[in-house]
């Protein structure tokens, strides 16, 4: 069994970055439209979770006529079970910086920011060193681009792009209404490209080896490789770069401890896949059968049969209840209701049918919440409640 695509390790991202100067110099000598076309033809999609085509994002921003634009690297990696951005920034920071500068060249911007989550304060020092080195070279080749680090202060929601802008503007990190989108109205109201750390690392790969090398990896709709943060009940936790399109079955074969009961794909806001669906689940933007979308940031958490799924869900909901920004009703009150609800069912204060009411509530949250956080609470909730209903009740 298993899919056609066997699990395939790839080594692009953490390959040494010593050629960054060459790549920067070459890239910025090429016209913007050529770079954009290269990205578009690679079919690279955002690695932060939403999966928006990166080339298109750059293109839309490039088409804006503003004199001031920004390039922002989103390093507010807060999704439970995700830690790949930290690894990239500590091991190959110059790749990310190079890609930011190339983006600056493409969209005609000379300012870049890295929004680094507060928990990664310890990365700041080394990162700043890399930035100095980078900026020095930029000056050397007369390329006008500067990069600054902006520290977050402990708020998961700031990973949402518009919330991140608000936070950088010195406000509460509350998501904005969309439209307008960042490509026309981003940081300080200016057109902004905002990319995840890993996305920028992949663009470096594309600029280094060409779009084709990237495109040849993966399957239709899901091209290239992806970093996976593997944790939980696994004998080998850590970061792995794998080709997209693998079956979850193969993944569990490789990383499971032999007793894997379920895998949480994509962190707390992703999907939980129970054992019986491992076979039919593919990891990629357009999953087959179960329709699983790409893991948010590539987090893979494995649970073996000793784990209570009730505790898992309780932990997630606690997380969302605290980390919701609180402005929109479905998310603020919905998360509290879900958490109190499963507790009440467990205690026996509410009957089992109440779970169905909560499932309908998650649908509403998915349909009406203002941003991705509220919308995605439904994912893990419905998967856990539907597949492990008994554990919720008894």
């Amino acid at each position: 069994m298993g899919s056609v695509y066997q699990l395939k390790r790839v080594d692009f991202i953490f390959k040494d970055e010593k050629d960054w100067k060459v790549i920067l110099k070459n890239s910025i000598s090429r016209p913007a439209h050529e770079l954009i076309n290269e990205l578009i033809s690679s079919e690279l999609k955002g690695r932060g979770g939403a999966g928006f085509p990166t080339g298109l994002k750059w293109k839309l921003t490039a088409e804006e006529n503003d004199l001031v634009k920004y390039v922002i690297c989103n390093a507010d990696e807060g999704e439970p079970g995700t830690f790949k951005d930290r690894e990239i920034l500590s091991k190959v920071p110059l790749k990310v910086l190079t890609s930011m500068a190339v983006c600056g060249h493409v969209i005609r911007s000379n300012t870049g920011y890295i929004y680094l989550r507060g928990e990664y304060f310890f990365l700041q020092k080394d990162l700043n060193k890399a930035i100095s080195e980078f900026e020095e070279y930029c000056r050397e080749i007369n390329f006008d681009f500067s990069i600054r680090i902006f520290m977050g202060s402990g708020a998961y929601i700031c990973g949402e792009e518009t919330a991140l802008f608000e936070s950088m503007e010195g406000k509460r990190g509350e998501p904005r209404n969309k439209p307008p989108f960042p490509s026309s109205y981003g940081y300080m109201g200016k057109p902004t490209v905002i990319n995840n750390v890993e996305t920028l690392a992949h663009t470096y790969t594309i600029f280094e080896y060409g779009a084709k090398r990237f495109y040849d990896l993966g399957v239709q709709y899901s091209r290239g490789s992806k970093l996976f943060s593997v944790s939980g009940d696994t004998p080998k936790p850590g970061i792995y770069e794998l080709e997209l399109g693998m079956s979850l079955f193969d993944f569990v074969e490789e990383f499971g401890d032999g007793d894997t009961k379920a895998v949480q794909v994509g962190g707390a806001s992703g999907f939980l896949v129970p054992r019986k669906r491992f076979n039919e689940t593919t990891i990629g933007f357009q999953g087959k059968l179960t329709g699983i979308s790409l893991p948010t940031g590539g987090s893979m958490m494995l649970f073996n049969s000793s784990r209570s799924m009730y505790n898992v869900l309780d932990n997630y909901l606690e997380f969302f209840r605290e980390e919701s920004c609180g402005q929109c009703t479905p998310c603020r009150v919905g998360c509290q209701q879900l958490l109190n609800g499963i507790k009440a069912v467990k205690r026996g204060d509410k009957n089992a049918q109440y779970l169905d009411k909560l499932l309908r509530l998650t649908e509403t949250m998915q349909n009406t919440a203002k941003c991705g956080l509220g919308q995605s609470v439904a994912n893990s909730f419905s998967a856990i409640v539907e597949n492990f209903r008994e554990e919720m009740i008894y």
Binding site: A155, I157, R172, E174, N177, P179, F320, R321, E322, E323, S324, C325, G326, Q327, C328, T329, P330, R332, V333, G334, C335, Q336, Q337, N340, G341, A344, K350, Y354, K357, R360, L361, E363, T364, Q366, N367, T368, A369, K370, Q375
Partner: protein, 596 residues
């Protein structure tokens, strides 16, 4: 011509200006989409999610208030998905709301109540969250009560306080389930820079922010046979009160209001308009004196422009925000406080009453007046000048409680001595009104001629623009005002504290060219005051303003200095404007307060 886009709303095709929100487009085509956090006065927040609609082809629903129409959109406002979601959202709001409506102050005029009723939420399956939270009621302010258990986090108050008033006393604090509307460090409203303007009350959809009411205290005073209860009514009350009692917006109910007050059992019903005329006499004179001292005597201690001082919200604002500029303020008390001081002196004397046995009540469109009457400076009569301040809304409640069939009342006139007024006093209720009234009198006192505006209507200072300007050139004045010959008197009018901020910043920067500026804390002036009927929105303000100007035009006398009772009080009691008695009773001083 703006670009048009074609969309369909509930299967009806319409053409709409590009960029219009779905909400507005729907309203234009007769489809009502329910809203909560949306308010015409304020920026779009899109956080309550009650207004979600389905755009065919999109997986998720969109907030109608925050989504602009785009070509070809196929919008459903009442699909299965929308209805289910909307009901869920209302249920969620209810689950964190203290739903004890029968003893809520906003019972009957609550947007959440209406929403729950329109959607007939008949079950309360969700767990009640109120008991989980440790809510306290902040009732330390003399003007405003804040009850978080009724708050639905729509943030209208926060936006009001920031966008309309520039005060920022209220803010959103914390996140997630702890997210709440708070003051700095959760201090009581009374201890922060709140100006008590009450605009947050007027914009609150539920009972989370309400005025501190003094209805019971006033009933007690009325019931107490040993005291003489005297009441005054502000200009803007007569054009707002009707709305609470079944009249259409913009109805003038002066006569019925007086009749109702008499029925309620007040011993004397008099008019703040009288003291508004008096204010013009005092403030107009003060302006002329200041002009003389600056232009002729070149006295450096006297500050121009002179700013009006009728609006207690504005006074507290300048005390907090521009404590170094208090010298610009006119020393005149507000008309309410002038009236209060006279009630326990002049009126008591004329009627032979013991001032200690007078209870002075005022009916105001304003919540800040409740604070004002509480200021230590406001005891110039030897007693507390005004004992209780009620808002227009509270008066309406009293009338209903007393079982008065307001619609059927016959008009009655104010009692004499301090009940007569002119059109100039009436327009105090609208933005620009004090300026217009002052100019009518000042110009005539200076030149001996009527101000050269058609029918006395100084139109440049009317209307709802945030900052308005007017100038009048003075030519061939009377002899004693010769120094004003050829001077172009420059005036400005600002309403809403955010506009006051703009003007004050120009004064602080030294770029202000004006001689005289009228400031009102609330958008639209008193007619849009924090104590006026809810809702108040641009359309309603416009109608109330029309009613005010109609009332003015209908008056026999339209210039303050012609008011016979004003002439009488100067003759019998005060002797002259800015005289010793005036100084003791009608003028005041201000206190610098901290901004932080």
């Amino acid at each position: 011509m703006a670009k048009k886009v074609k969309i369909t709303i509930n299967e009806v095709a319409v053409e709409i200006e590009a960029g219009t929100s779905i909400l507005d487009a729907a309203r234009q085509t007769g489809v009502i989409i329910p809203t909560l956090c949306y308010h015409k006065d304020l920026c779009v927040a899109g956080n309550c999610r009650v207004c979600v609609v389905e755009i065919v082809g999109q997986k998720r629903l969109s907030a109608a208030c925050a989504t602009p129409c785009e070509e070809g959109m196929d919008i459903l406002t009442n699909s299965f998905k929308v209805r289910n979601s909307r009901k869920h959202i209302i249920e969620l709001l209810l689950s964190e709301h203290n739903a004890d409506c029968t003893r809520c102050y906003k019972n009957g005029n609550c947007e959440l109540q209406k929403l729950a009723s329109d959607y007939k939420i008949m079950t309360q399956d969700f767990i009640r969250l109120v008991p989980y939270k440790n809510y306290t009621i902040d009732q330390y302010s003399p003007s405003i009560i804040k009850d978080d258990s009724k708050c639905i986090r729509c943030q209208r108050c926060v936006r009001t306080c920031e966008e309309l008033q520039g005060v920022n006393a209220l803010t959103v604090a914390y996140k997630g389930d702890h997210m709440k509307i708070s003051t700095f460090f959760e201090k009581p409203m009374n201890d922060v820079i709140c100006t008590n303007c009450g605009q947050c009350i007027n914009h609150c959809p539920t009972g989370a922010l309400v005025e501190r009411n003094y209805i019971e205290e006033v009933w007690e005073a009325i019931a107490d046979k040993s005291v003489h209860v005297i009441v005054q009514t502000a200009p803007a009350v007569r054009i707002g009160l009707g709305e609470e009692l079944g009249f259409p917006v913009g109805s003038r109910v002066t006569g019925k209001m007086v009749a109702a007050l008499k029925r309620l059992g007040f011993d004397a019903v008099m008019d703040t308009d009288f003291s508004a005329d008096l204010t013009i006499m005092e403030e107009g004179t003060e302006l002329m004196v200041r002009l003389k001292k600056v232009l002729e005597d070149h006295d450096p201690t006297i500050m121009l422009p002179m700013a009006t001082s009728c609006s207690p919200g504005w006074i507290k604002y300048i005390e907090h925000m521009y404590p170094g500029y208090l010298g610009h303020l006119s020393t005149c008390k507000s008309p309410q406080q002038m009236f209060g001081a006279l009630a326990k002196t002049y009126y008591a004397k004329q009627r032979g009453l013991d001032p200690e046995k007078i209870v002075s009540v005022s009916i105001m469109p304003c919540t800040a007046k409740k604070f004002e009457s509480n200021r230590p400076e406001m005891h110039d009569s030897g007693y507390r000048d005004v004992d209780y301040v009620l808002t227009t809304r509270e008066l309406a409640i009293m009338i209903k409680q007393a079982g008065i069939d307001f619609m059927k009342l016959e008009d009655r006139p104010f009692d004499s001595l301090m009940g007569e007024s002119t059109g100039a006093a009436v327009i105090f209720g609208a933005t620009g009104g004090v300026m217009e009234a002052a100019l009518r009198t000042v110009y005539e006192l200076v030149t001996g001629r009527e101000i050269p505006f058609e029918n006395l209507n100084i139109t440049p200072v009317r209307g709802m623009e945030g900052i308005k300007e007017a100038s009048v050139k003075i030519e061939s004045p009377l002899e004693q005002w010769a120094f004003l010959d050829g001077v172009e008197l420059k005036c400005a009018v600002a309403h809403g504290l955010i506009n006051a901020k703009t003007v004050m910043d120009s004064i602080a920067a030294g770029t202000s060219q004006y001689h005289f500026i009228e400031f009102m804390a609330c958008p639209g002036g008193c007619l849009g005051g924090g104590g006026q009927p809810i809702p108040t929105n641009p359309e309603i303000r416009r109608k109330r303003a029309e009613a005010i100007y109609a009332e003015d035009e209908g008056m026999k006398l339209r210039k303050s200095h012609l008011n016979p009772e004003i002439l009488k009080i100067y003759n019998d009691f005060l002797l002259k404007p800015m005289g010793v008695k005036s100084h003791d009773l009608l003028h005041t001083k201000y206190t610098a307060r901290a901004r932080f």
